[in-house]
């Protein structure tokens, strides 16, 4: 049985009090990473202070209704459903009795929340289980005390406590008020994974009804009495800076109350302060349409402060960097140079991908209300704490006087890790001395920066006369960071191995974009391995499994960042489910597998030719993400990732001319549409009892590789440069 501690050094992770309106309120830290056998605890090390910050609440009302206040930002990963499921499981309440509520505003509930890198579930798993189990235990103790029994003489199930040798029973709601007086147990027992009733089932999105009826949920929907609206104008090109603009003319336009320049420069910016432009024109008014008209009437003087770059220059810089660039990170096993020399067959291929924008469908926006002494911010952010810190710096206010509250987020993909739009709203509010909501137009959003870097990688493999892989090298360069993970597969599977990550400078700003680096590397590496397998005369799955076999039995090096067994596991599962190897008339298949964000995913694409055009008839997907909390929700995430991978690998790109993005809206920037997606996607999970890992990212990366490999089977053409359907134009 797994025991979990509810305290550390006599400080409790849990606070219990009487709930307003009757019942019991359990407060806990949603991000308490305290594992049952946590290393920190065993070693007596100090644990992070945020483990003690109460930011999640469970209310057990006197009717037995359980309200779980979810502080997590919902960016579409469905954590507002899956995380409360974990609490309900350990608390032993039927899901019908559970209500999930957005934690109310202005309570500091949102401290320390972070929805990036598929982290949410991974970080919260133990905390949520502990909170639920503690609640159950206290309710049981209260009931036992009431009946003059020991706690092991009662059982809790489905929101009811029963005595084991008798007929007495009591609902959670009836006993909740009494449980408030029970001492918080120092240690609680977690359920056996095999006894889960709710976890692993399909539970519908708790916000579904609000979404399909158009309720105001998003930042852009936020309203406050007396609030103004604002829009910004940033320079048209990277390398340009604002000088001045026709202020008087703009201020006189209908519906415009103010126009001025803001500057969001702060001291010691952090990683989430990445921003394309800090000096901006801000226009304030009463209606969005009037603001848009004013934006059109802007006459702005820009000055050039650094080189205005073109896409051709970017390609040239990447090519040069691959020869002589600055290596950020490298790994060498054996003697790759010698091994390539003696190899019977050598193959070398180059892959590339363009800059892409996040293009969350809800454009950047934020509400701010700044007074002389305090600032209140409300909107879609993945990093409220970072925003708080930056706003405090910008306004020169103490951190305690800044409140940041989160709304539902109309798509994240990494974009809303960056906080500049919150800062801009704060700067505008300060200037006008009142509440304001800043709205980006699509053009503002798409041309502002924090793009997925553009990448270029050269892969090389050497086979001996028995077609065994004896040498492998990858060199990858990117503006502004290289795409290679030096310790990931195929590291560990080949004796002679070289990996180099190379960075190249640009004045275009880049940032985390769904599955950073993996979103390119997976496609390149998996397409390359397909060619290597072909050269070796081996089935692409068997070829990969052979490599994993090597990594299981006798891995090369010690720093390999993956578990070969689980990697092979998803390949075997997808192989079996899709009946790989069984020829189907007119169906062309490609496979890829990839590991990122602690999750393993393998995909098989089935392509058929329709009117001489390739159509994706079916995608088979196998994932190992540990315990699956909400099965249908998890499938939705993987399906979305696959479609996103196909879309960006096939259609999307951002190119530059004189520092300006050439694509500014969805007429020129193509996103995947309804008719372009696979006709069917089927998702399978590896069944295990490993702690759950994220699903926000891992579905995407392998899709690009599996697509490229299936396209080759269908058309005979290999694809090296994303986006595939524009390949010719890009490589010129």
């Amino acid at each position: 049985m797994t025991q979990i501690k509810t305290q550390y050094n006599r400080r409790s992770f849990i606070k219990v009090s009487a709930a307003a309106g009757g019942g019991m309120l359990i407060g806990f830290s949603w991000l308490n990473g305290c594992k049952p056998n946590s290393k920190e605890i065993a070693a007596g090390l100090p644990v992070p202070k945020e483990w003690f910050d109460i930011n999640g609440y469970i209310k057990i009302g006197d009717t037995g209704l359980v309200t779980i206040f979810s502080p997590n930002p919902e960016i579409g990963q469905n954590v507002r459903t899956s995380m409360p499921m974990i609490v309900a499981e350990e608390l032993e309440v039927p899901w019908e009795n559970v209500v999930v509520e957005q934690a109310p505003l202005n309570t500091g509930f949102y401290q320390n929340q972070f929805a990036g890198g598929s982290l949410s579930i991974r970080l919260s798993w133990n905390a949520l289980r502990m909170a639920g189990a503690t609640g159950k235990r206290m309710l049981m103790e209260a009931a036992a005390k009431e009946w003059g029994l020991q706690v092991d003489e009662v059982t809790a199930s489905e929101g009811v406590i029963k005595e084991n040798n008798g007929t007495r029973s009591v609902g959670y709601g009836e006993i909740a008020a009494k449980a408030v007086g029970i001492e918080i147990p120092e240690e609680v027992t977690l359920k056996n994974v095999n006894d889960f009733k709710l976890i692993g089932t399909d539970v519908k999105n708790v916000d579904g009804k609000k979404i399909v009826t158009g309720q105001p949920l998003f930042g852009l929907d936020f309203q406050r009495e007396g609030m103004k609206l604002a829009m910004i104008q940033h320079p048209p090109a990277f390398g340009m800076q604002l000088v001045d603009f026709n202020e008087d003319e703009i201020k006189n336009m209908p519906g415009i109350s103010d126009a001025f320049i803001i500057d969001t420069t702060i001291a010691e910016p952090g990683m989430f302060d990445e921003v394309g432009f800090k000096k901006l024109v801000a226009i304030v008014g009463d209606s969005t349409w009037q603001l848009m008209q004013a934006k059109k009437a802007l006459k702005v003087n820009w000055e050039t402060t650094s080189e205005l770059e073109n896409s051709e220059l970017h390609i040239q810089r990447l090519e040069e960097a691959l020869v002589s660039g600055e290596v950020e990170e490298t790994r060498t096993d054996g003697d790759p140079e010698a091994a390539f020399k003696k190899a019977a067959k050598v193959i070398e291929r180059t892959y590339s991908a363009p800059f892409i924008a996040h293009n969350t469908l809800e454009p950047m926006n934020f509400f701010a209300n700044v007074t002389d002494t305090a600032a209140e911010l409300i909107g879609p952010t993945q990093t409220p704490e970072a925003l708080e810190g930056s706003v405090a710096k910008l306004l020169n206010l103490p951190l305690e006087n800044i409140t940041v509250n989160m709304t539902r987020i109309g798509g994240g993909f990494g974009r809303r890790l960056y906080v500049h739009f919150g800062l801009e709203a704060a700067a505008i509010s300060k200037k006008i001395g009142g509440p304001v909501k800043l709205i980006y137009s699509r053009e503002d959003d798409m041309t502002q920066g924090t793009y997925r870097p553009t990448y270029r990688s050269v892969y090389k493999a050497g086979l001996d006369e028995n077609n065994t892989l004896i040498a492998f090298s990858v060199k990858g360069a990117g503006l502004t960071e290289g795409p290679v993970f030096v310790n990931r597969f195929p590291a560990g599977t080949v004796d002679n191995y070289l990996a180099q990550r190379i960075k190249v400078a640009t004045n275009i700003t880049t940032g985390a974009w769904r599955a950073p680096r993996s979103n390119f590397t997976a496609g390149a590496e998996q397409a390359f391995l397909d060619e290597v397998a072909e050269l070796a005369g081996k089935d692409p799955i068997d070829f990969r499994l052979e490599l994993f076999e090597r990594a299981i039995k006798n891995p090369v090096g010690e720093k390999n960042e993956y578990e070969a067994e689980r990697y092979a596991g998803v390949l075997k599962l997808v192989k079996e489910k899709a009946n790989w190897g069984e020829a189907k008339q007119g169906v062309h298949r490609g496979v890829a597998a990839y590991f990122c964000h602690s999750t393993y995913v393998a995909e098989i694409f089935d392509i058929v030719m329709k009117n001489d055009k390739p159509v994706i008839a079916k995608v088979w997907c196998a994932a190992d993400c540990g315990i699956v909390v909400n099965k249908d929700g998890a499938k939705n995430m993987l399906e979305g990732g696959i479609i996103d991978g196909i879309g960006h690998g096939t259609y999307s790109q951002l190119t530059f001319e004189n520092g300006a993005p050439k694509q500014m809206n969805f007429d020129t920037y193509q996103l995947i549409r309804n008719s372009q997606v696979p006709k069917e996607i089927e998702v399978f999970f590896v069944d295990n009892d490993i702690d759950p890992t994220g699903l926000g990212e891992p579905g995407l990366p392998p899709a690009i590789g599996a697509l490229a490999n299936a396209l080759y089977k269908a058309t005979g053409q290999r694809h090296y440069h994303q986006p595939f359907n524009l390949e010719k134009q890009i490589i010129g």
């Binding site: 848009m292 809206n665 549409r673």
Partner: protein, 154 residues
Amino acid sequence: MANYTLNINGKKQQIDVDPTTPMLWVLRDHIKLVGTKFGCGIAQCGACTIHLGDNAVRSCQLPISAVGDQKITTIEGLSENGDHPVQQAWLEIDVPQCGYCQAGQIMSASALLKRTPNPTDEEIETAMNGNICRCGTYTRIKKAIKTAANSENA
């Protein structure tokens, strides 16, 4: 500025705005019906889809001056209690991820089913191609449209 009387979700509404103002902003800024979403402003994403009469239109490209006395329906007015067959199918198939595009998707889908109660895959794709879902819920959208079609015929 000019005065307009609109029929929105069965209610008469008086609005005094510039005649060029698109219905998207009339709804969002003036009437405070924010279920209709802004995504691109150039009729490319479908987030702003509403019904003009029985037709799905992009409200970001529909100036108020062009509405006249035609009936406007937004996501808030599609059904009384969120129980339109398309909304129900959306819940059954659990379509949304971030949810931002879904009001527009539902408005396009409900207009399609009104015109074509039993759409083929191609008809669904054609009708829905103007609605971007950045989260990639397209396969579920198709499934939900078929579910709604079946339930309406039942």
